[in-house]
């Protein structure tokens, strides 16, 4: 499944999607950024509730295909602009991380 395909599901909202064709091959859930940096895998969708510029940096370093902000967490526009510039897809969902992971699991 691509990030674009996920974004077509009404439970997932696009905050920025500069690379819609990136593939989602699995999910990683975590909020401790240094931990995520070492554990999230290439092409995972990373589900988190953290919301600052460091999220974009960690997503860029770990080369995840998408960041999913759970529980309707939002990002300010400056952070979103940086994400767009760096080619990082960011979606949000009202679902909690567990439900979001289950939903995605059923789609890939």
């Amino acid at each position: 499944m691509t990030v674009y395909e996920l974004s077509q599901n009404s439970q997932f909202n696009v905050l920025t999607m500069p690379e819609p064709e990136r593939v989602i091959n699995g999910a990683y859930v975590g909020d401790l950024l240094s931990w995520v940096m070492g554990k999230a895998q290439y092409d995972n969708i990373w589900i988190t509730i953290m919301s600052n510029i460091n999220v974009v940096a960690v997503a860029s370093l770990s080369d995840v295909s998408c960041v999913l902000l759970a529980e309707d967490v939002t990002l300010d526009s400056e952070v979103l602009n940086t994400a767009k510039e760096k080619g990082i897809n960011i979606l949000s969902t009202p679902l909690a991380a567990y439900e979001a992971a289950i939903t995605i699991s059923g789609m890939i």
Partner: protein, 182 residues
Amino acid sequence: MKELSLNILDITENSVKAGATLTEISIVESGDTLTLTIKDDGCGMSDEILSTVENPFYTTRTTRKVGLGIPLLKMAAEMTGGKVKIVSSTNEANHGTTVTAHFFKNHLDFTPLGDIKETIVTLIQGHPDTDFLFTHQTNSGEVKLDTRELRVALEGVPLDTYEVIVWIKEYLNEQYQLLDNR
């Protein structure tokens, strides 16, 4: 970072990279606050660079374009209601950088200090030719290690000699035991 001591390791590596001959690492615990100060006499940063260090997309690394040392420390401090302040100078007379981080220890999101002894030993072992002054003050007393004093006592024996490293570890263990028992 899971432990503040890993942040300390990260920030101090920047000091060494900036050519510091002495890096002072101080931890002061008082009431519900913890203040971490890392002060070096390295080359310092221009105002222009200083204004970008809190942004993870600024880094001195050449291998990749993202640097998270200061951003993660800032986040760890701010998550507890604290803050980070950085002062730097490139003046010939007083060049160097001082990073000060304030934490509120009673906040639920306070990151534990972790194995600071191991961090100090790792720094000395990795950079035996630069000096470190480590102090940790709590309400019950102070732990202190000054590699300049060690160097005088060792009369030319390198700090990364196996026996010296073992001694430093034991010394720090003893100091912390004394502190804990007070």
